[in-house]
Amino acid sequence: MRYNAFQILKQGLSGHKGWKPMWRDPEPKAEYDVIIIGGGGHGLATAYYLAKEHGITNVAVIEKGWIGGGNVGRNTTIFRSNYMFPANTHFYEKGMKLWEGLEQDFNFNAMVSQRGVINLFHSDPQRDAFARRGNAMRLAGVDAEFLSPDQLKEMVPILDFKNARFPIQGGLMQRRGGTIRHDAVAWGFARGADSRGVDIIQNCEVKDIVIEGGAAVAVETSRGKIRGKKVAMAVAGHTSQIAAMAGIKLPIESHVLQAFVSEGIKPLIDTVVTFGAGHFYISQSDKGGLVFGGDLDGYNSYAQRGNLPMMEHVMAGGMAIMPAIGRVRLLRHWGGIMDMSFDGSPFICKTGVDKLYLNGGWCYGGFKATPASGWCYAHTIAKDEPHPLNKDFTIERFREGRMIDEKGVGPNPWIQ
């Protein structure tokens, strides 16, 4: 059912008895045109765009637990397209454009808030590195600008310009970046996909991928065998496990990345601020909580929870640049499992197995990529070939020596 002012008024007056479930809870069919493994943001977005852009609606999204329970519900809600290499810049900018029209597109308010993303810099070499990135963005038609310390003071008054260990020299800002209500992204895509006929099958664990004659033909699940003309993985965090079912080994390690939220307070920070030198970034949710994070705990993990040393480090980073938050209390912290690819860039590609597709290796970029990932992946699955936007996100790039290395630390994702 469509949400509009009339419907809301009507339901409010009639005790909300008429609202329908946002998605059905169907039994799996015996066969689908496309089976998507993973009911997270990317899997749901892929189903949505398969249905909407390619008219492929005989699709199942198979989720081990409940949809949206993984990283789409565990991130710090930021979206941006401030990448350096053209492959990433264009791709994330596609995502940016999709975010900008998303709510009207899927008739669900995900609270897309383009409040700006600022990266602080503290030295000349850092400024130059940011300039390279900012100029790459501008050349790709993406917005980026440098902010002076005075502009920063005005925009983020609680930044410490008096006593900072690494004095703030300026910032690179993308004004169109910002935050989104993360759960709503999963729900919005799920609702949109479901209404177009996609089956969202929850509590269904994939146990094996069935390959016949070099092609994926079905998945074995906890609810039986489901045949699929095409099988697509979208299980970032656990990509290595699912890919192994098809005998595929990847340059990926799973790492835990922590996220933090404070008690709700009245508006204090109006943008997203990133303090790379201190491994800290922060924004404030519409509900009032300060949402912040840092870097990986730094060891392989599937535990979805972090440990004290990184917590202390992250909050020290926060206190180093905005010491006014010292008395604000941390409410909760948790961890998400990142597919850390060995060059910091993702995979959206075909695999060595026919009719089996890979979407993973998202590192820290998964949430912001959600719509672009779904859009490109849907194209790749529907046409059995990549869209120009994701043609570089292959598995083979490592063997060929054509990595897209945003971080420049090589195959050691734990290095900070």
Binding site: L250, P309, N412
Partner: protein, 97 residues
């Protein structure tokens, strides 16, 4: 917080260590193929469960310590020196995982 039993120094907090990744990978002989080096450098099992890995005791004796640890529970099964052979346990991790 991980407590790692360094064979030289005893049990220490994780902050004294720098994690250094998969320790099951053996560097090929110098004349091995590019493919062999590719596998060594890039391909990872990335297991959910027991994992043999390096923890470099940078804040202590500076030895590379081999650690068998569970990536789901973080339980440490055994530690040893850089050339030690540490078979994976057959058991599940503590707590039945």
């Amino acid at each position: 917080m991980h407590r790692i039993d360094c064979p030289w120094c005893g049990e220490r907090d994780e902050v004294e260590f720098q994690y250094q990744g998969d320790a099951t990978k053996v560097r090929p002989k110098p004349d091995a193929s590019e493919d062999a080096f590719f596998d060594y450098t890039y391909q990872r099992d990335n297991p959910k469960g027991w994992h043999t890995e390096w923890w470099h005791h940078v804040g202590g004796c500076r030895q590379w310590v081999k650690v068998v640890r569970n990536t789901l529970t973080h339980e440490v099964h055994k530690t040893g020196g850089p050339q030690s052979k540490l078979p994976l346990p057959r058991r599940k991790a503590e707590g039945g995982l």
